[in-house]
Amino acid sequence: MHYLDHAATTPVLPEVADEILRVTTSDFGNPSSVHAAGRRAKAVVEDARDRVAAAVGASPGEIVFTGGGTEADNLAIKGATHKRRGDGNHVVVTAFEHHAVLDAARALTQSGFEVTKVPVEPDGSVDPHRVAEAVRPSTVLVSVMTVNNEIGTIQDLAAIGEAVRAANPRALVHTDAVQALGNLPVDLHAWGVALAAFAAHKAGGPKGVGALFVRAPVAVEPVLHGGGQERGLRSGTHNVAGIAGFGVAAEIAAKEVHEKSERVGALRDRLLDGIRGIVPDVVVNGGLVDRVAGNLNVCIPGTDGETMLLLLDAAGIACSSGSACASGALDPSHVLLALGVPKKLAKGSLRFSLGRTSTDEDVDAVLAALPEVVERARKVA
């Protein structure tokens, strides 16, 4: 199989798999237990916290382990706004956020919050001035994703944070950084964000584990209540093995980020050149400059992404198109529509996301399959 869908999830690194197996079988204790087995499990969790913190430019005390990226986004958005309810009832998000952010923000409207969606530029960037314009005295939280999951564009969070603080010094900036880890150097303190969400599985770690960075001394309210784990911010017995795997994955991701970006970027460029040779009128979605190296999102005019995706799948190539609903059916991507891509063109989109395991053979396979795939998909567009 040619796996070109690393933005959906990544293969678990062998080192991570080893660590998960080791912890699962030998350190099975409950980190909240007082006895030796518990202490060992607790040590595993805290070691992982050190590693994750180091990988993202944070202090260990600022890392809250969660059950994934979506949970981290929900904790950030619901937890921070409810904590700061007295300060205001307004939230700012961008139009092309992941649904974990968009829908969490929408859920806030049921408890009296107002949400402003900031439009994004056609090249997939977020203009700090537009964000600042949306900020009001009542704004308590601004959420801008670090790297867009569909088009891979990278936002200048430092500039956005500065603009937000100039408009309202009390407004917090949250970033969904799920696609950032392993794809660009993450330095949360330098970016100046208050909150940031991560998911282990996007960077060679296991699914079902994530983290929320909560910059000291920012306070958030928990979403899950119970045993009071994670300093009360995320109750529930730790997924010790998963967290340990996350720690290993984060460390490797941070260590290899430059080398990986260089190698994957060259593959991505070759893929794009090849596609341009096959489909001269191909449209690249989002700018290519401020973009993670592995992402290529294109629209092929006059085609149907669903048909292309199925044909590529049959040819052993895994990529994606649009966004899948609960049943698995594809809808035109809200991200592409937010960029102003016409709906008909957006239907013919394909996202290839390359990663650590991608090879020249993967690129060759796509370029070999694409001419017939495009021709067939043009019949039903």
């Binding site: 669903e306 609903c325 049943s327 059916a329």
Partner: protein
């Protein structure tokens, strides 16, 4: 020789599950697909098929058969064709059959094109009908199980489509289908049959009219055959020709809806004898191969009987008047020589009542 590729339209029910299983068994390279027919996530919509639970069932069956499975998005197309037609027909006081329309415009048209694009040689469904090739042409025949036969909703199929269609369960009865599903351990083996219109939630058509067809939910008069007002109705979309129950009027004798007039928003009721139809005119006539001449058998309800009639151009004159044939309904035509062979069909455009026989 490469294996023949078949796309199977799976609904999450037992029939299409077994259709897929039979094709796998016959050596086809099978891909299962479900059609998403409405916008949104569909978790709370519909009942019969195509909702989220049905998609999960179909997916699990496909997993059990080790075949790929996809949910294809036909929501916009379905909305623009089947649902739009359904609404327009009801607003015009007619009685449409959305399953017929879906077969005509979605399954055996847009989906067949998709099957082409995906390189599939054949498109299979779980319909109870049989296709065979005899005398240089494809024939479409009733399924062998008379209680489950679905050839009625396939009257618009022509040679071009039949050459590509497979109905694997049509050659067996429903009990056999369930037995096969059970033997294979398919989770859909004991799922009840769906009878309702798939996009009408819980089969509650009354509520659907209220929500989606406000123009057909406007109260108006109920008239008798002489034009006298004898009651009031709750919107023409809530009544069908031949309906007896739920009229809310007491005339001391059983009365039936005999006509629906959208222009005046009135429905007319009469005696059972007023439902007698001597002749119907068809539109959108379609034939499986050569048009039949002379006499045919006509079925105008999904599970109704077939009645002998004479076809002359677009008109059908019944040997003996039939009851409650309504404009908008599909009339499927079967061969007078072989009552199992479907020869074509059309949509009833208008009806000619029989001259009422005076009651003793």
């Amino acid at each position: 020789m490469p294996r023949r590729k078949a796309l199977v339209a799976m609904s999450g029910g037992v029939d299409s599950s077994v259709a897929a299983a039979l094709l796998v068994d016959a050596g086809y390279d099978v891909t299962g697909v479900m059609l998403k027919l409405w916008k949104g996530d569909g978790a709370n919509l519909g009942s019969g098929c195509c909702n989220l639970g049905a998609a999960e069932d179909a997916r699990r069956v496909a997993d059990a058969l080790s075949i790929p499975f996809y949910v294809l998005n036909f929501a916009e197309h379905f909305e623009a064709t089947v649902r739009r037609d359904f609404h327009e027909e009801y607003l015009a006081g007619r009685t449409p059959n959305p399953c017929v329309r879906c077969n005509h415009w979605v399954k055996f048209d847009a989906l067949l094109d998709k099957a082409d694009a995906l390189g599939a040689d054949a498109l299979a469904t779980g319909h109870y009908a049989r296709v065979d090739h005899a005398g240089g042409r494809y024939r479409l025949r009733r399924g062998v199980d008379p209680t489950k036969d679905q050839s009625y909703v396939l009257w618009m199929l022509t040679q071009r489509q039949l050459a590509r269609c497979l109905f694997p369960v049509g050659v067996q009865d429903k009990a056999t289908t369930r037995a096969i599903a059970e033997e294979l351990g398919l989770r859909t083996a004991h799922k009840p049959d769906s009878q309702e219109i798939c996009f009408v939630r819980d089969g509650d058509f009354d509520a659907y009219v209220g929500e989606s067809l406000p123009g057909a939910a406007v109260p108006g008069p109920i008239l008798d055959v002489d034009g006298e007002v004898v009651g009031s109705h709750r919107g023409i979309g809530r009544y069908t020709i031949g309906q007896r129950k739920g009229l809310g009027i007491a005339l001391g004798r059983p009365v039936f809806v005999t006509s629906i007039d959208a222009a005046s928003n009135a429905i007319t009721v009469g005696d059972r004898g007023d439902l007698a139809t001597a002749e119907v005119t068809l539109t959108e006539l379609s034939f499986v191969s050569a048009p039949p001449e002379g006499r045919v058998l006509v079925q105008y309800r999904a599970h109704g009987d077939a009645y002998p009639a004479t076809i002359d151009g677009t008109s059908l004159r019944f040997d003996v008047p039939v009851e409650a044939a309504a404009p908008g309904q599909s009339a499927a035509l079967y061969s007078i020589h072989d009552p199992d062979e479907l020869v074509g069909g059309g949509i009833i455009q208008s009806t000619v009542p029989a001259i009422k026989t005076p009651v003793g």
